[in-house]
């Protein structure tokens, strides 16, 4: 239901799209996506640190990078439901032991 993969976000003004994607693909990235405010590199979990080290040669810092659980299929929720789910997520995050929470729902109010 979920796949474990590495995610790297690079700011758009740091590097050109083609250049970044070429480095990433050559290093073994799974997918490169052009998001609204960042480039996103998806990697296998095992390759994450390898690819990141490769990219660090070109770019000093990343917007965001971590190993995530990405849902294979998203679930659409109505607005009121996604608000409540957000409440649950927030409450879970409040717990000291919890590091990360991932969900397969599309949270509308986060867009």
């Amino acid at each position: 239901m979920f796949s474990n993969c590495g995610v790297i976000h690079v700011e758009k003004n740091k590097i050109k799209e083609e250049e970044l994607f070429e480095i990433a693909i050559n290093a073994g990235a799974k997918d490169c996506i052009n998001l609204k405010n960042a480039f996103e590199i998806i990697t296998e979990k095992e390759d994450f640190y390898k690819i990141k080290t490769e990219l660090e040669k070109k770019i000093e810092t990343f917007n965001y990078s971590s190993i995530e659980w990405r849902p294979l299929n998203h679930v659409d929720l109505a607005e009121d439901k996604s608000e409540k789910l957000l409440e649950v997520l927030n409450a879970l995050e409040e717990l000291d032991d919890v590091q990360n929470v991932f969900t397969n729902a599309n949270l509308k109010n986060l867009h």
Binding site: M1, V98, V101, F102
Partner: protein
């Protein structure tokens, strides 16, 4: 559509009150401690530690806190963090993955369960005759 809904990338950037900031710091420093414990103390040699430190810097965590978290790993001490993953399924086909780093897995499991039961009841209140319960599985597979 990928990447638009994920929660992990957004949560640290959202404006949060100071009280919650310290919570984020404690989570980030826990990850730093564990990363430093498992590998090299030098971030240049330890990519996991490097990633953890970068995340901490992005959250504006003070340098002191970062170095304190690293030195904590050398002390060894009585706290042994374990990495556990919980998976939950609920109404409307919602699935959750909850990653934890804890020194007491009984506590973390029961607190997660409490939150889900309390909060989830709210979600399904309007369809009470639909007896979904949030189910929780624990994969006690250690990370690395």
């Amino acid at each position: 559509m990928a990447g638009h809904s994920h929660w992990a990338g957004i949560k640290h950037k959202k404006g949060r009150a100071d009280k919650e900031r310290s919570k984020i710091f404690s989570k980030l420093s826990r990850e730093i401690t564990v990363a430093a414990k498992l590998g090299d103390k030098d971030p240049d040699m330890n990519p996991r530690l490097r990633t953890a430190i970068q995340a901490a810097k992005q959250a504006n965590m003070p340098k002191d806190n970062i170095s304190r978290a690293i030195s904590k790993s050398e002390m060894g001490g009585d706290k042994n963090y374990e990495s556990l993953r919980y998976e939950g399924f609920g109404p409307s086909n919602i699935a959750l993955i909850i990653e934890t780093l804890t020194d007491n897995k009984n506590r973390s499991a029961s607190s997660i369960r409490t939150v889900l039961q309390k909060k989830w009841r709210k979600i399904r209140r309007n369809r009470i005759n639909y007896p979904y319960v949030f189910q929780l599985w624990c994969n006690s597979r250690r990370k690395k």
